[in-house]
């Protein structure tokens, strides 16, 4: 028994010891970050006093590692941290005080952007906490300031001069109070007056109400009197009636006569009404002019038609668009300006009539051949005289235009001669290529103009082209600019402008 007991006892102690060791070891191991795991990063600190190897490294108060090593790097301290949580390159580390005993730990902010930190990388952002020493320095400064203040106070009040000043100040205050008192005293009569006025006003008000009450009493009395008068009158009437019953009988007779006359008048009225009824019946039946007027709906229909027609007319009229354009062209060869004034009446979008006044520097050229038969001369008896007359006068164009898709054809009088025209619209009508051919009888060849117009602003356009293509000596180039209004614009102008009385 003894031989078994000895090993058993020893074994018991050994097992207990081993169990205790393993349990304690496990417990204390929980408290630290696993030495083997994690990785090392470093940060450069100005001051690491209070930090030590194995000092805690926390994120949001949760331990994520510890200080692995602290070494000197120049005049700074290089602190190696062993952490087991991922950090980014914008991570921050700060030395924080755990207690007033000077115990410190490192507060990490893991960072959100940037590249992940690896083993041996540096945490570049180091925040500095206020150390007790800094606090003390601050306190020192504050104390110094307080001392300055007290010293200057002492200077001000401490000596006799200061006391004197203080007493002066007190005297001044006293004086000021006295002045205030005086002011109040001086104004006392005025204040009395004000109070008096107030009293008077209230008294007046009182009087007024009293007067009103009196008036009311008077009115009541009057009313009472009127009532008693009325009573008297009634009594008098009664007396009179009682006294004069005969006279009353006469009065009744008079009344009867009047009633009979009234009866007559009523009979006449009846007759009148009968007639009126008969007229109404006639009207109702459509007899007579008035009856037809009232009962026949043709008139109404006619009026309706009229209104409809005039409506259509007005619609047409309103659909008619008027365009007024003015254009000047500068002829490079002639160095002269040609002006146009165009009024375009456009009843439909694809159709318009154009009336243009043209002031052409070339004027109107006409030929006149005069043949004179003369016998007095030995020479050729026939004198041929050819005249070219150029008149500077307005020319007129009157054209009818019709648009097919992007092409508009024009026909009519162009600058006082018959002519044709063609416009090609491109780029949403902003660019217009046009040609006119006219004056078939003026020169050897008819006059053809070709030009392009570019509308660059709603109302403004520029033009350039060539004139009189087929007559070499007359061919000229021109550039121009113009302005164009539609009647919407004109309406706006006319309504804005003072209206002329028509």
């Amino acid at each position: 028994m003894k031989e078994i007991l000895t090993p058993f006892r020893v074994g018991l102690v050994v097992v207990a010891g081993l169990a205790a060791f393993i349990w304690m070891y496990g417990k204390i191991e929980e408290g630290i970050s696993d030495d083997a795991s994690g990785y090392r990063v470093y940060a450069i600190f100005e001051d690491v006093s209070g930090l030590a190897q194995k000092s805690r490294v926390v994120i949001a108060g949760i331990g994520v590692g510890e200080i692995d090593k602290i070494e000197l790097a120049g005049d700074k301290a290089k602190v190696w941290l062993r952490v087991n949580t991922p950090l980014k390159s914008d991570a921050r580390v700060a030395k924080r005080q755990a207690s007033l005993l000077g115990e410190y730990y490192l507060q990490l902010t893991p960072g959100y952007t940037g590249t992940p930190l690896g083993d041996g990388d540096q945490i570049k952002n180091v925040d500095y906490d206020v150390a007790p020493a800094d606090l003390m320095n601050g306190m020192k400064e504050i104390v110094a300031n307080v001392q300055d203040i007290t010293a200057s106070l002492k200077r001000v009040v401490g000596d006799e001069e200061g006391e004197q000043k203080l007493s002066e100040i007190l005297t001044n205050i006293n004086e000021a109070v006295g002045e205030v008192n005086k002011a109040v005293a001086a104004n006392a009569p005025k204040i009395d007056v004000v109070v008096d006025n107030v009293v008077k006003v209230t008294e007046n008000a009182k009087h007024f109400t009293e007067e009103f009450r009196r008036d009311a009493r008077v009115i009541l009395a009057d009313a009472r009197k009127v009532a008693s008068d009325a009573r008297d009158v009634a009594a008098n009437v009664k007396a009179i009636v009682g006294e004069n019953q005969g006279k009353v009988q006469e009065g009744f007779d008079g009344v009867r006569g009047a009633v009979s006359r009234l009866q007559g008048a009523l009979d006449k009225l009846d007759e009148t009404l009968d007639r009126a009824r008969s007229i109404a019946i006639k009207i109702d039946e459509g007899q007579g002019t008035v009856g037809q007027l009232i009962n026949d709906d043709r008139l109404v229909r006619n009026v309706n038609e009229l209104v409809e027609e005039s409506g259509q007319f007005v619609k047409k009229f309103t659909r008619l668009q008027t365009v007024v354009a003015m254009r000047s062209e500068y002829y490079l060869g002639q160095t002269a300006v040609k002006n146009y004034l165009e009024v375009r009446l456009q009843p439909k979008p694809d159709k318009y009539y154009s009336l243009t006044l043209v002031d052409d520097p070339r004027g109107r050229t006409s030929f006149r051949e005069t043949v004179t038969n003369s016998s007095a001369s030995d020479e050729d008896p026939v004198v041929r005289e050819q005249q070219t007359i150029t008149e500077d006068r307005f020319r007129l164009s009157l054209q009818f235009a019709k648009r097919f898709y992007f092409v508009t054809g024009r026909i009519g009088i162009i600058e006082n001669t018959g002519g044709l025209g063609l416009d090609v619209f491109l780029f949403g009508d902003t660019l217009e290529l046009s040609t006119d051919i006219f004056a078939f009888d003026e020169n050897v060849n008819p006059r053809q103009r070709m030009w392009g117009t570019y509308t660059f602003f709603t109302h403004l356009y520029v033009a350039a082209g060539i004139d009189d293509v087929w007559n070499d000596e007359l061919t000229d180039f021109f550039v121009g600019a113009g302005i164009r209004f539609t009647d919407d614009d004109l309406k706006a102008i006319f309504t804005a402008a003072p209206a002329p009385s028509l």
Binding site: E3, T6, P7, R9, V10, L12, V13, V14, A16, G17, L18, A20, F21, W23, M24, Y25, K27, I28, E29, E30, G31, I32, K54, R56, G63, S99, L100, L101
Partner: protein, 257 residues
């Protein structure tokens, strides 16, 4: 004067001789350690004597050491409102220093002295010489089991000392002084690291070796009858205690510097 010098010289010679003999004993012990025959029964008896026999006194010491340390620490930390550090302070102190040293001293007082007495008695009653005649190496038979028991059991006792000591500290701190239990424990877990515990174990192991070797040495070389045995016992306790404290210093210096 001559006698004084002689006395001093003799003392020095004795001291050096003693160190030499102790070192030789240690060397012989280590030399005999791996050699068969392995006397397991004797080893267990030694372990029972050193470990089990000292268990109660060690646990009692540990409990009150932890308790009194917590009490004192709380009084001191209260000045800074840092009572939560009591647990970790006690734990670190126990694990690193107090457990091995106090366990070593307790076991010295109880088992080391016992070893010295036993071996001294065997020496003066010539039982050790009898072992020689029986061709049994007394070092292997007497010293080696005790030495092994010291090496093994003292660290175990030290661990139990720490555990019980922490129990005492917990009782005083949390139950009696109302320190926040969670903070108390978490600070222990945070501040106490495995090296604290293992260094304590190494120390305890060394102390176990010291106290058994000193006890064996003093008993083995005891002379002068019953008085000599008593002297050997006393000397073994004194020398062991001093050596433990001195060794503790050097071990601490080696481990933590």
């Amino acid at each position: 004067m001559k006698r004084l010098i002689e006395a001093i010289g003799q003392r020095v010679i004795d001291l050096i001789e003693g160190i030499g003999r102790a070192a030789m004993l240690l060397g012989q012990t280590l030399a005999w350690l791996p050699r068969p025959p392995y006397r397991i029964r004797i080893l267990f008896q030694a372990m029972e004597f050193v470990g089990v026999g000292s268990l109660f006194i060690v646990l009692l010491t540990g409990l009150f050491t932890g308790a009194v340390f917590a009490l004192q620490g709380a009084g001191a930390f209260r000045l800074f409102n840092a009572e939560s550090l009591v647990g970790s302070t006690v734990a670190i102190s126990l694990a690193r220093e107090l457990s091995p040293v106090l366990t070593g001293l307790m076991v010295t007082g109880r088992a080391g002295s016992g070893i010295a007495t036993e071996l001294g008695t065997m020496r003066v009653t010539e039982q050790i010489d009898a072992l020689y005649t029986m061709a049994v190496n007394p070092i292997q038979y007497l010293v080696v089991p005790r030495f092994i028991a010291g090496l093994v059991m003292v660290p175990i006792l030290s661990v139990l000392f720490t555990l019980v000591g922490m129990g005492g500290a917990y009782f005083v701190g949390v139950v009696l002084l109302n320190i926040d239990e969670g903070i108390f424990l978490s600070k222990i877990y945070w501040f106490v690291d495995p090296p604290d515990l293992t260094s304590g174990l190494i120390k305890a192991c060394v102390f176990g070796g010291i106290l058994t070797m000193v006890g064996c040495y003093k008993g083995f070389y005891a002379s002068g009858g019953a008085r000599g045995v008593g002297l050997a016992t006393t000397q073994s306790v004194v020398v062991s205690s001093v050596l433990i404290l001195v060794a503790d210093y050097f071990l601490t210096a080696m481990m933590f510097e």
